[in-house]
Every structure is written in structure tokens, then in C-alpha cells.
């Protein structure tokens, strides 16, 4: 196993999928000759040719609509949306069609496709490039939503998503595209959808997070370990379906929960996690479930993105709060 970056894990996943499954095609803006604006598809056009890796016109509804039609007609498309902030023109194709086609056709056309999009802030990108609107997709029945935070998961979730017969929104935390490194298994490697990753076990507080917030949570957990408070850190990884078992078991152990996400607070996924825990572990709770999230303001331009995004201080404050409640 070689040590790779997260984006290499994504790249490897696509390459493996293209190699092993002839139904797989990759399509999107600049994914061909240019290898993607983040180089996620680097070299794939050269290796697999322009009938497997396809530059499209600049039209997201067209891209996702085409991918749905391809899936209906037997292909397994991986569609790239260049940034999550540009997924909204395709929103109707995703929520009305990709999500519902299996139900609407009573299983005949499951819309087996993957939609990849880089998301979140932290790279001082230009305006409107840093949205984290994962909860919108989690709310839509019929979609699965995953977010890797390690290179191995990046590959494993991508291949699981490709194999999965249902439509999967695959979100890539671009802040850690290159900063997170780790071993990535060779060949076909799957990480099952619907399973969270407990990256650190603990007894006192459950820290629940995903994507680019995982390293932050880990750092906080480490710091608190020094102060005698042990945090269990859960990388949710599969935002839908949620691994309720792992989450609830942890909460029942610790009784105290801090949820960290980058998206704005109101109606973000932290709300659903709170509701879930409230429903399934009410009697175990020893403090209010506490959310540390982006503020309820439009994702700012990068000069203020650090003020907007959760940071160690805010997470620390939440941990203090729940442990001293």
C-alpha cells in the first residue's frame, strides 16, 4: 500500500472503476484533457480515451440529466460538478429525478450514478466556491450522501458508490485534498456506505463530525486528552444513510455530544443528528447536545472564512460546556 493524498485516493478510485467496469464513464467540465480543475481526473482521458472520460459543455443540469439518461441506458456515470456551489443548476435533475427514478419506475430504473463535487472552505477560493450544503441532499429521500476524510476512505467510498445501485452524492472536502495523507489499498477497495468511522475511542464526550472538520476534531480531542477528558471522535462519513448504531452506542457511553460541521447551523445536518440522538438516547444524555457550526450567514469571502468556520476555540468551548454542564 502506498501513501497518498485524499485527492489521489479519489483519482485512484475513478481509475480503478474505469478499469474494472466498462460501464463506467466520467463526465463533467474540464475533466478531460485538463484533468479537472483540481486534477482529480488527471491522466484518465489520456488512459481511457474520450469515450470514457468526457468534457461536457458548461451546463450542470445537462451533465446530471445526461448522467441519469446514461444510467437508464446501462452505463454507470460518474459526473463531476466543479464545485458544490455550482450544483444548484442541477438541483432539479438530482432531487426530482435521480432521487426518485427508482421509486417512480418501481425498481426498473434505479439511476445508478455518482455525482462528485468538491465542497467546503479553507482554501481561500474565490467567492461562492465554498458552500457546504450537504444537508439539502440528506433531506431528499432516495439519495445517498458520503464524504471521505482519509485517502483510503476516498477510494473505498468512491468504489462503493460506483457499485451501489442507487444515486450517491460524493462530496470532497477540498481543504484536505492534499493535506491529509494515508495508505490507500491497491486494486478494488470498498468502504461500505452507511458505516461511520470511529477514529478515536473515548469515554467522556462524543465528537461527531465529517469532512475537513475531522482533523480539527482530532486535534481538539488530543488537546483534551491532556486535560484528562477523553473524547470519542466519529467521522460520520456516510451522511445518508447514517450509521445510527455506532453513533448511538457512543452517546450511550459518553452521555455528552458535540457535533461539528462547517455548514450553517440552522437545519444543518447537526440538527438531524441531535434529533436522532434525542430520540434514541434521551435517557443517556447528561448535557445538551451542542453544535459547533458555520454561522447562519452566507458563506463569506475568504478574508472572513476563518471567522465563519468552526475552529479549535469554539470546539473547546463546546467541550467545556458539555463536560461542565
Amino acid at each position: 500500500m502506498a501513501v497518498k493524498t485524499l485527492i489521489q485516493g479519489i483519482h485512484d478510485g475513478m481509475r480503478e472503476a474505469l478499469r474494472q467496469d466498462l460501464r463506467v464513464v466520467v463526465l463533467g467540465e474540464d475533466v478531460g484533457k485538463n484533468g479537472g480543475v483540481f486534477r482529480a481526473t488527471e491522466g484518465l482521458w489520456q488512459e481511457f480515451g474520450e469515450e470514457r472520460v468526457m468534457d461536457t459543455p458548461l451546463a450542470e443540469a445537462g451533465i446530471v440529466g445526461a448522467a441519469i439518461g446514461m444510467a437508464v441506458n446501462g452505463l454507470r456515470p460518474i459526473a463531476e460538478i466543479q464545485f458544490m456551489g455550482f450544483i444548484y443548476p442541477a438541483f432539479e435533475q438530482i432531487v426530482t429525478h435521480a432521487a426518485r427514478l427508482r421509486t417512480r419506475t418501481q425498481g426498473q430504473h434505479p439511476a445508478s450514478l455518482v455525482i462528485r463535487a468538491p465542497y467546503g472552505g479553507g482554501i481561500r477560493a474565490p467567492e461562492l466556491h465554498s458552500d457546504s450544503t450537504e444537508s439539502l441532499f440528506v433531506h431528499i429521500p432516495g439519495l445517498k450522501v458520503v464524504v471521505p476524510s482519509t485517502p483510503a476512505d476516498a477510494k473505498g467510498l468512491l468504489l462503493a458508490a460506483v457499485k451501489d445501485p442507487d444515486p450517491v452524492i460524493y462530496l470532497e472536502p477540498m481543504q484536505i485534498y492534499r493535506s491529509v495523507k494515508g495508505e490507500v489499498p491497491d486494486g478494488w477497495h470498498e468502504v461500505p456506505l452507511g458505516k461511520a468511522r470511529v477514529l478515536r475511542e473515548g469515554e467522556d464526550v462524543t465528537l461527531i463530525t465529517w469532512g475537513a472538520m475531522v482533523p480539527l476534531a482530532e486535534k481538539c480531542a488530543q488537546a483534551w486528552a491532556g486535560r484528562g477528558i477523553s473524547c470519542e471522535v466519529i467521522d460520520v462519513r456516510s451522511l445518508y444513510p447514517l450509521d445510527e448504531e455506532t453513533i448511538i452506542a457512543s452517546v450511550k457511553k459518553t452521555g455528552r455530544v458535540v457535533i461539528v460541521h462547517e455548514a450553517p447551523k440552522t437545519a444543518g445536518l447537526g440538527a438531524e443528528l441531535t434529533a436522532l440522538i434525542n430520540e434514541q438516547a434521551f435517557l443517556w444524555l447528561e448535557a445538551p447536545i451542542t453544535r459547533v457550526t458555520g454561522f447562519d450567514v452566507p458563506v463569506p469571502m475568504f478574508a472572513l472564512e476563518n471567522a465563519f468556520r468552526p475552529d479549535q476555540e469554539r470546539v473547546d468551548r463546546a467541550i467545556s460546556y458539555v463536560t461542565s454542564f
Binding site: P57, G65, A67, N73, R102, T105, Q106
Partner: protein, 369 residues
């Protein structure tokens, strides 16, 4: 041969039932059965449609979108397709669907609010009706793209209305189809209205066909009430698509003789004289009947017996649809995902407990309603 782009309206069969010179040639190339089929299907479609309107009035089906007046556009085009072609219809294409092999009972079930009505029999490549306007177009384009990538000869066809041409999805689908030379037919039934909005307020162009120029795809404007012309231009476009010639935009100029749906009242926004002209002077079924009668292919008895035959088939479909066992409430969960995640299993349990009945396993086979 079809010219690259024809914006003068192709017409082979005049409203008075006489063929044009070009029409005679095309007509001469059809077999007796083909000729009769054009008519027979139109009659069946119309009788079905009228019956559905009545069923709605009787409260036996929900809101329904009638197609009366558009039979030639639907029958002519659908008969020009092959079994392997992918059809992406809107909510008004009952005629197309039945020709492609959707059982009439399924079509009725759909309008009874029953999702099983969307299930196509084995080998029938008809997608469910697309209600959100124009959204079927990028998908048809994608299906065509897959055919091309797989080097298959199947094409895809998207049916849509004049109003749909205003949506971004129309544009994106046409543009991709032009760029990648995809085997897709964009079949527009320009019935002059999007609910109450006339085409003149929908578009500053006077035709849909001329919009094809923006995408470098050939387009053709055809009399949509002339079943022969519709059949022929669709067949030509299909052949070109199969031969690598790419997409075609077809504008079939027609008219919805009734209201937009049974929930609409077209008298609020249409001039009765306009309606009268289309109903009395340009009806697609009458026109074809006159031709066949003149050619001696159709007698009054034949017509009567065919109508009888259709009515019987329709009655059987009504019976089948009304008899079709309603799936239990838990059917809600049957096709959300291939495998239900735990949270959905729990929600399903909640419903089972509430219903106090069976666990939904006795879900009737939706293919045989």
C-alpha cells in the same frame, strides 16, 4: 430527403383529406396495414382519451391531461420508432405510450395516483410521464449518448410541448445533442398553449423549429395534425439518427382541443372561434378517415367495428385498473433504495404497526395490475 432545416411546414395530407403531390409518393410507399394502422391507433387513442375524461368526471381517476386533437402527432411519431428506442414522454403522451406497449390499464392506474402504472412491461422502453416541464430532455439526450457510446442503434426521443422550449433544460439538452451528434429526437407538440399562455408570449420566434439553428441540429416543422407527414418526418429523422447523423428537432404544429387538464377551464383564455377552427376544420382523425374512405380502405362498418373493438379493450383496461389490488401502505418503502437502511426499516415498521395488518409482503406484482 429531408432538408437540413425546413421551416415551411411539411404537409402531405391536407385538412380536406386530399394528399399533396409529395404526400402521394409517401402514401404509396405504405402497405395497406400501415395505412390502416395510422387511423386505427388514432381512433383508439381518442376513444381512450375521451373515456379517461369521463372517468375523471365520475371521480374514478384523478386529474387527467387530455390529448384530443394531438392524436396525429403522437401516433405518427410513435409508429416511426422501433422497439429498442427509448421514449421519454411528458404527461400528455398516452397515445405514444400505448403504441410503445404500455398497457392501457397502466396508463389509467397512473392517473388513479397509482405508481404501479409507471411500470413498463419487459422490453418496453418507455419512461414514466415527466411532469416537471422539459426535464426529460437532458435525460433522453443522455440515453442517446449511451447508445452512441455503446455503438447501439437505438435512439432516444423526448416528447414535450411548446411551453417546454422556454426552460433551460430544453436548451442544455439540445446543445449537448448538437455538440456530440447524439441519436436523439426532440419532438415538440406545439399545441399553441402552455396552459393559458399562447406561444406568442412564450417565444419571440414564430416557430419552434427555428430554434434548432442555435444548436446546429436540423429541425423540421410539420403539420402535427397530418399523421402521414408526422410519421414520415419522424421516420426520416430516426433513420438519420441511427446512421450517425445526430439529433433532429421536430415541431409538430397541433392543437389541444380540450382543456389543459380536467382541472383547467380553457374557455377562460381561448377564443371559441379559434377552437372551432381547429376542431371542425383541422381535426387529425377526420382528415385521415376521409382519405382512407376515399381510397376504399375504410367502410362505415369497419369503422363501427373498430370502434367497438377499441371500446371493449378500453373497458377491459378500466376494469383491470379498477380491480387491480391496491398495494398496502408499506409499498411506500418498496423501491426507495435497493436495500432499505435501518432507519427506513424502522419507519416501515411504524407504518406496519399502525396499519395493524400484514407487513406489506403481499405486494401484488405491479406488472399485472
Amino acid at each position: 430527403m429531408l432538408q437540413q432545416t425546413r421551416h415551411d411546414m411539411v404537409q402531405y395530407l391536407r385538412p380536406n383529406g386530399w394528399l399533396t403531390d409529395e404526400g402521394k409518393k409517401v402514401w404509396g410507399g405504405l402497405s395497406r396495414e400501415q395505412k390502416l394502422d395510422l387511423y386505427r391507433w388514432m381512433v383508439k387513442v381518442r376513444l381512450f382519451d375521451r373515456r379517461a375524461v369521463i372517468l375523471q368526471r365520475q371521480g374514478r381517476i384523478g386529474t387527467y391531461a387530455p390529448l384530443e386533437g394531438q392524436e396525429a402527432a403522437q401516433v405518427g411519431s410513435a409508429l416511426a420508432l422501433g422497439r429498442e428506442d427509448w421514449i421519454f414522454p411528458s404527461y400528455r403522451e398516452h397515445g405514444v405510450s400505448m403504441i410503445a406497449g404500455m398497457p392501457l390499464a397502466h396508463i389509467l392506474l397512473y392517473w388513479m395516483g397509482r405508481v404501479e402504472g409507471n411500470t413498463a412491461p419487459e422490453g418496453v422502453r418507455v419512461l414514466p410521464p415527466y411532469v416537471p416541464i422539459a426535464t426529460q430532455m437532458p435525460q433522453a439526450m443522455g440515453a442517446a449518448w449511451a447508445s452512441k457510446l455503446k455503438r447501439e442503434s437505438s435512439l432516444a426521443i423526448a416528447y414535450f410541448g411548446d411551453g417546454a422550449t422556454s426552460e433551460g433544460d430544453f436548451h442544455e439538452a439540445c446543445n449537448f445533442a448538437g455538440v456530440f451528434q447524439l441519436p436523439v429526437l426532440f419532438f415538440c407538440q406545439n399545441n399553441q398553449y402552455a396552459i393559458s399562455v399562447p406561444f406568442s408570449r412564450q417565444s419571440a420566434t414564430s416557430t419552434v423549429a427555428e430554434k434548432g439553428q442555435a444548436y446546429g441540429i436540423p429541425s423540421v416543422r410539420v403539420d402535427g395534425n397530418d399523421v402521414l407527414a408526422v410519421y414520415h418526418v419522424t421516420a426520416e429523422a430516426a433513420e438519420r439518427a441511427r446512421n450517425g447523423g445526430g439529433a433532429t428537432l421536430i415541431e409538430a404544429v397541433t392543437y389541444r382541443q380540450g382543456s389543459h387538464t380536467t382541472a383547467d377551464d380553457a374557455t377562460r383564455y381561448r377564443d371559441p372561434e379559434e377552437v372551432r377552427i381547429w376542431v371542425e376544420e383541422r381535426d387529425p382523425v377526420d382528415r385521415c378517415r376521409r382519405l382512407l374512405e376515399r381510397e376504399g380502405l375504410l367502410s362505415e362498418e369497419y369503422i363501427a367495428s373498430w370502434e367497438e373493438c377499441c371500446k371493449k379493450e378500453i373497458q377491459e383496461a378500466v376494469d383491470a385498473a379498477e380491480r387491480a389490488k391496491a398495494p398496502p401502505p408499506t409499498h411506500l418503502f418498496n423501491h426507495v433504495f435497493e436495500t432499505l437502511p435501518p432507519s427506513l426499516l424502522r419507519q416501515r415498521e411504524e407504518l406496519v404497526r399502525k396499519e395493524g395488518g400484514p407487513d406489506g409482503s403481499e405486494n401484488p406484482d405491479p406488472r399485472h395490475p
